[in-house]
């Protein structure tokens, strides 16, 4: 680019574009992670051995030791990016709250839910990750012990639906925002998303029950 | 009080006003447009059907040329138009359409190959040539020999106005929206601007300009049943009338459109019939071809409207709670055509009637539609009587429409007149200097402030402004409608005179603060009643039938006595307009004759009686 043009027409800031793209990518990465996570944890339903084998595989390949912190970072990055959209100012919060109540519009509510769940996930997810990652290796027995302790039971009962809602809505939102879901496919996709979210919550619950009944 | 100076003050930011402003701004002068509503909401946006220009691209418009357009226009006007202006107009229209294309209109284009079109409910085939692919296409309209109305689906006015306003934004032309001109400032010779009321704050403002343009659109809302927007109350015409000098040309020439929907009077476009829609009666049978074998549904508007009323009077209308009506049938055009080329129509029917035009009939009846009359100007757009005052668009009587405007000629007029009058104003500005008499300005503002204060305090009386307006609308509707006669017209004049008296004694019921809507109407009501009186009185005096002016007691068109134009002015203190007349056209290119449709009883210039 010639120098004089750069002076008179400074290139537009591309920060917004990068941030938005990254927000989507980190979101998508986290979705994929959460699905894998689901596979790992839910494998306990096929017996403690299955879960242990999977967990051992991750550890022996160092995927847990490296992957864990990486996920932690992605998690934080996603938080920083998405936080740009969360209203932290009181007047903005009141505005969006009043607006959503007035409008009777599901997609707007979905966003409010996404922002609210995000805050909870931020705190609970961090605690959870810290707990698990500082107490490697992962074994079905350790997990079961935690859950049967009671505190973690309540903890997961709260976190689970929060995460699934956030993920489900996030998935739908990526589709809508980037035009993968079109006007004529929106309705169908939304229904699909609801089913998926409920299904995941269900599997999670079954898993928790399984942990509760797993002999330590 | 706030005072604003500019070179050109455009009262009105519809197509006509904005086109003039663009011309003047391009020439380097400053212009300010006033508008009651944001410019893009001006009523030009409601035009659906098309804009006439003899491009001759499509196969049904082949060999079309300005001459044919000229003949259609003059015949359409029933020889009431100014032929010099009509000539100027038809010659410029093609360029105007192309310029608008250059500025961004997504005109519908020619698709080569065979396609089916409908005429009189029957399908025919036409073939568009490969060679013309992608050129601007056109559709048929009432009273035209060729398909000539360029269109964008049925949102032609909308796209035109948006494109025009885009240009205005690009050029940075100032628009003061929600500002209503309430009187002109003049000294009896020169107009130097206007007093306007801000409709955001209610405050008065003086605009001083070397040239002032009235482009305020039609005044259909003096009638009860009208396709016009609620703001079309004649603001421009009545401030011109107020000057006591500037005449309103042909106020009695009021067009009724055949297809207003019942009961809301929202227009469904002539394009419906142009594209092959038919009119049906109570037996769901066509009838127009019986009255007009040649043109049938596509005769000019005045003719179709009259036959419709005639048919209803014969007892063949459809009875309803809202009075008798007829049916418009576009079902045979098919879902695809309706959904692409007539989508506004589809929307309007669904929204306001709960009728699906693809499978159901649309209830229609003629409704007031267009004011051929307006501020009389010469061919340069300069108003009679005051220097520095111009007019363009529907507000003007530039007079290419005479006693009946052809569909599609009005959008074309706004753009064409905008170009031409704009150039003339530039020339005027180049030769003029600004001299403002401060006492005059102050006086004008004080006078209006006093009017306002008087209405708020109820000093003059407590007449209810809405009641006066409603009564006026009813009188015009009932007695100065499609068919007119001396007895009814006299009654109308009498009632309107009573209302005029009352309009002097209007008092507000609300406090009149801010942009109070009651006050807005109160400031106009007297002028509106005067305008109504111009319409009724001029209609009473014109003892012939011409174009849309159909006298039951004088059925013939009388070229011997009435080949002329009414010029109505108002003297303060009087309770009737003063009527003068001038020749319809100084230059006669096409001598008066038979239009080829409508009843043709004519008393010729030398007194010979022709026709039934």
């Amino acid at each position: 680019m010639a120098i004089d043009t750069t002076i008179y027409f400074p290139a537009p800031s591309r920060a917004s574009a990068y941030f938005d793209g990254l927000q989507m990518l980190t979101g998508a990465a986290l979705i994929i992670f959460m699905w894998s996570h689901m596979v790992l944890v839910a494998s306990v339903n096929f017996g403690a051995g299955t879960m242990n084998t999977l967990a051992r595989f991750f550890e022996e390949t160092y995927m847990a030791q490296v992957g864990g912190p990486v996920i932690g970072c992605v998690f934080l990055l996603h938080f920083f990016l998405a936080a740009r959209k969360i209203p932290f100012r009181l007047d903005q919060q009141t505005t969006i709250w009043k607006h959503s109540r007035l409008l009777h519009h599901t997609d707007t509510w979905l966003w409010v839910i996404q922002a609210l769940t995000a805050m909870i996930i931020l705190i609970m997810g961090s605690i959870h990750m810290w707990t698990v990652l500082t107490d490697l290796p992962i074994t079905a027995a350790k997990s079961a012990a935690r859950i049967q302790g009671g505190f973690w039971l309540i903890f997961y009962l709260i976190l689970l639906p929060m995460v699934e809602l956030h993920v489900g809505i996030g998935f739908y939102r990526i589709g809508v925002k980037w035009g993968f879901i079109r006007r004529n496919t929106r309705k169908g996709f939304k229904r699909f998303e609801n089913v998926l979210t409920s299904l995941f919550v269900l599997i999670g619950l079954v898993t928790i029950v399984r942990f509760l009944t797993l002999p330590i | 009080m706030e005072t604003v100076w500019t070179d050109l003050l455009c009262i009105g930011a519809g197509l006509a006003g904005e086109r003039v402003a663009i011309e003047v701004s391009t020439a380097g002068f400053q212009s300010i447009c006033l508008s009651i509503v944001p410019p893009r909401r001006s009523h030009s946006s409601a035009a659906q059907g098309g804009m006439q220009a003899s491009l001759g691209n499509c196969c049904m418009g082949e060999a079309d040329c300005p001459d044919t357009h000229f003949q259609d226009t003059v015949k359409g006007s029933d020889w009431g138009c100014d032929q010099e202006v009509a000539r100027l107009f038809v010659e410029t229209a093609p360029e105007a359409v192309r310029e608008m294309a250059f500025w961004g209109i997504p005109w519908n284009r020619i698709v080569p190959g065979k396609s089916v079109y409908f005429k009189g409910g029957k399908p025919y085939e036409k073939t568009e040539s490969e060679e013309n692919e992608g050129l601007i296409t056109a559709r048929g309209f009432g009273g035209t020999a060729k398909w000539r109305a360029c269109y964008t689906s049925d949102g032609t006015g909308h796209t035109l106005l948006y494109t025009m306003d885009n240009k205005v934004v690009e050029l940075g032309v100032t628009v003061h929206d929600r500002t209503e001109a309430i009187s002109l400032i003049h000294d009896g010779e020169t107009c130097i601007g206007a007093v306007a009321r801000c409709l955001k704050t209610g405050r008065l403002r003086a605009y001083l300009a070397r040239a002032t343009l009235i482009a305020t659109g039609g005044y259909g809302k003096i009638y009860r049943e009208s396709t016009n927007a609620v703001i079309n109350e004649g603001g421009g015409a009545l401030i011109a009338l107020d000057t006591e000098i500037v005449p309103i040309g042909n106020p009695e020439a009021v067009q009724f459109h055949p297809t207003g929907i019942v009961p809301t009077n929202i227009l469904v476009t002539e394009g419906c019939r142009g594209d092959g829609g038919t009119l049906l009666d109570v037996n769901e049978e066509r009838f127009m071809h019986e009255y007009e074998p040649e043109k049938a549904e596509l005769a000019s508007r005045d003719v179709v409207s009259r036959w419709m009323i005639h048919h209803i009077r014969r007892g063949l209308g459809v009875k309803s709670d809202h009075g008798d009506h007829l049916w418009l049938d576009i079902r045979h055009l098919g879902a695809e055509h309706i959904k692409t080329k007539l989508r506004e129509v589809e929307e309007i029917c669904n929204n306001f009637l709960g009728v699906d035009p693809i499978t159901q009939l649309i209830p229609v009846r003629p409704a007031q539609h267009y004011s051929m009359g307006g501020v009389r100007t010469d061919k340069d757009g300069a108003a009679y009587g005051l220097k520095g005052l111009f007019a363009a668009g529907e507000a003007a009587c530039w007079d290419l429409h005479g006693f009946n405007r052809l569909g599609g000629n009005s959008l074309a007029e706004t753009v064409v007149a905008g170009k031409i009058v704009g150039k003339k104003i530039v020339a005027f500005l180049q030769g003029s200097e600004s001299k403002y008499d401060t006492a005059l300005i102050k006086g004008a503002v004080i006078k209006n402030q006093e009017r306002i204060d008087g209405m708020i305090s109820g000093r003059a009386g407590h007449e209810n402004v809405f009641e006066i307006r409603n009564a006026m609308q009813d009188v015009l509707m009932e007695r100065v409608g499609i068919f007119r006669n001396g007895k009814d017209l006299q009654k109308a004049v009498d009632s309107l005179q009573g209302l005029h008296e009352k309009s002097r004694r209007v008092g507000l019921r609300s406090n009149g603060r801010g942009a109070n809507p009651e006050l807005s109407l109160a400031l106009k009501i007297q002028g509106m009643v005067r305008l109504a009186l111009c319409v009724a009185y001029a209609a009473l005096k014109r003892t012939e039938s011409r174009g849309c002016h159909a006298r039951e007691d004088f059925e013939a068109r009388n070229d011997r006595d009435w080949l002329n134009r009414t010029l109505a002015t108002w003297r303060e203190g009087s309770d009737l307009p003063t009527l003068n007349y001038e020749a319809a056209s100084k230059v006669v290119e096409l001598a008066p004759g038979d239009r080829g449709y409508g009843v043709c009883k004519i008393i010729s210039c030398d007194g010979e009686i022709i026709g039934a």
Binding site: - | G155, G514, N516
Partner: protein, 248 residues
Amino acid sequence: MGRELTFHIFRYDPEDPDSIPHTDIFIMEEKENMTLFIALTQIREEQDPSLQFDFCCRAGICGSCAMVINGRPGLACKTLTRELPKEITLMPLPVFKLIADLSVDTGAWFRAMNEKVGSWIHTSKKFDPSAREERMDNALAEEIYELERCVECGCCVAACGTANMREDFVGAVAMNRIARFMMDPRDERTEDEYFEVIGTDEGIFGCMGLLACEDVCPKNIPLQDQLGILRRKMGWNTVKHLFRFGSS
């Protein structure tokens, strides 16, 4: 027929020093095919002549009469009362500056928007009055018209949570306008130039996909699809830039 309707109407006139924001109640009998235009006009004429609201075309084509009807932004003139419950709450559109009661200043907002997005054909060519028009494919003309149908009513902006929270957000209407010009071969702006206008958090990247715009638009403009396409285009543009960076 003949339901008794109760209107709860927001009232406030900033120009009147005695006025404070409150809700007025008006009661009237419903008539056949009654629209909010008919109802409000009747209220003004018979009950309170100072009531401010905006109507112009009263046919759903000029975009003047948008207001919040029982919580949802919509065009009052084409809202039939029979589609509403007996209790009807009317409020002015948020985001736009209040003029009084139900009337808001959309004119100023849209003028600024149009200036900001450069809502006109940018071309280096000059109009040649003697030349025939340039050709265009009819299908393309129809596609452009589809987006051009927007009536600038402001419903999409008022319904958008983002626009409500952040006043610098240009709203779906502006994005749709840009999409319209990008589609138009007569406009010579490059993708980079469009990016400059709309590739920010005030523009396409500020949109959070709430889709209220899509759901309230009285003209049914395909806003969702256009927003999606635009985001992808602008996203791609950025990716392309990223890779071009080293080489240029």
